[in-house]
Symmetry: C2
DNA sequence: TTAGAAACTAGAGCGAGGTCTAGATCAAGT
DNA sequence: ACTTGATCTAGACCTCGCTCTAGTTTCTAA
């Protein structure tokens, strides 16, 4: 998963935005919030230069955020990684918690999906028969 | 799904809160926002009396909200139902859109789940071997 | 009849997660 | 040298979806 690419060119914030799907605003915001593992390097002129490792980490953040991990947890994770080895148990706990959140969401979604599928079926059938008049009841 | 129960006692807002999992605040808020299909009945003293149909509709709302349907869509749906028969096609479209949102979410979640499962596996294995020192790289 | 719980309204407040603005600076092409 | 576009910082602002407050009124039970 980690892209070990020692002679990769560092990227500008705009390029990272493109690659991660985050806006440049969001990237600066994440940094301010302490969501990055290390400080982002800067050019002489003060511009950010992201390494491939930074981008890899951001891609993980995007994935976790996209599945509902709160920024606070992401921040905690970043802190743990920043502190180096020795806290893997807590990292594991964070991941595990999120895994359970994900399982729960999947169950919720699947349940709702089947309810909707049924309702869609009812509507579609009646629409096809052009007798929608009997469908007034929203709770069908 | 619809509870056809003509001689059911109307419920107070507190009872509805219990049954739907929404707070009484949220119930009043939903009403103000026009998320309910019809106006809620009131007692002589001005208190809300929810019918079973109201509760059924709210339970649907809870399900849809819980899977990410925005309040605006819920409101639109309520409006359509309020206007009675003749707009089933649009109702169907709303449901269909949401169904696709759900499918997409499930795919996202499942993808993330497998990534996490893998990472958890890596962490757990190394923790078990007590050689977590090599796990510094957060992007593993 | 009186206390206490529960409900009422209007409107302010809040937390999450960004987004946008202003005004300045930096870098690249012509 | 000059224009254009990308970045910079600090901080204000925004949307969503509730939540809470204040002050009042209505029930219910003792």
């Amino acid at each position: 998963m980690a892209t070990v690419d020692t002679d990769a060119e560092p990227l500008s914030i705009g390029e990272v935005a493109e690659r991660t799907g985050l806006s440049v605003h969001a990237l600066r915001f994440y940094e301010r919030e302490g969501l990055l593992v290390g400080p982002v390097q800067r050019t002489a002129g003060g511009r950010r230069r992201y390494t491939t490792a930074d981008v890899d980490w951001l891609l993980i953040c995007v994935k976790l955020r996209g599945t509902g991990m709160p920024l606070a947890d992401l921040k905690r994770f970043a802190e743990l990684v920043r502190h180096g080895p020795g806290n893997e148990a807590e990292r594991l706990r964070l991941l595990d918690t999120h895994q359970q959140r994900i399982e729960a969401q999947i169950r919720t979604l699947e349940e709702c999906r089947s309810v909707i599928a049924w309702k869609v079926g009812v509507y579609a059938e009646h629409l096809a028969r052009d007798d929608a008049g009997g469908l007034w009841d929203p709770t069908v």
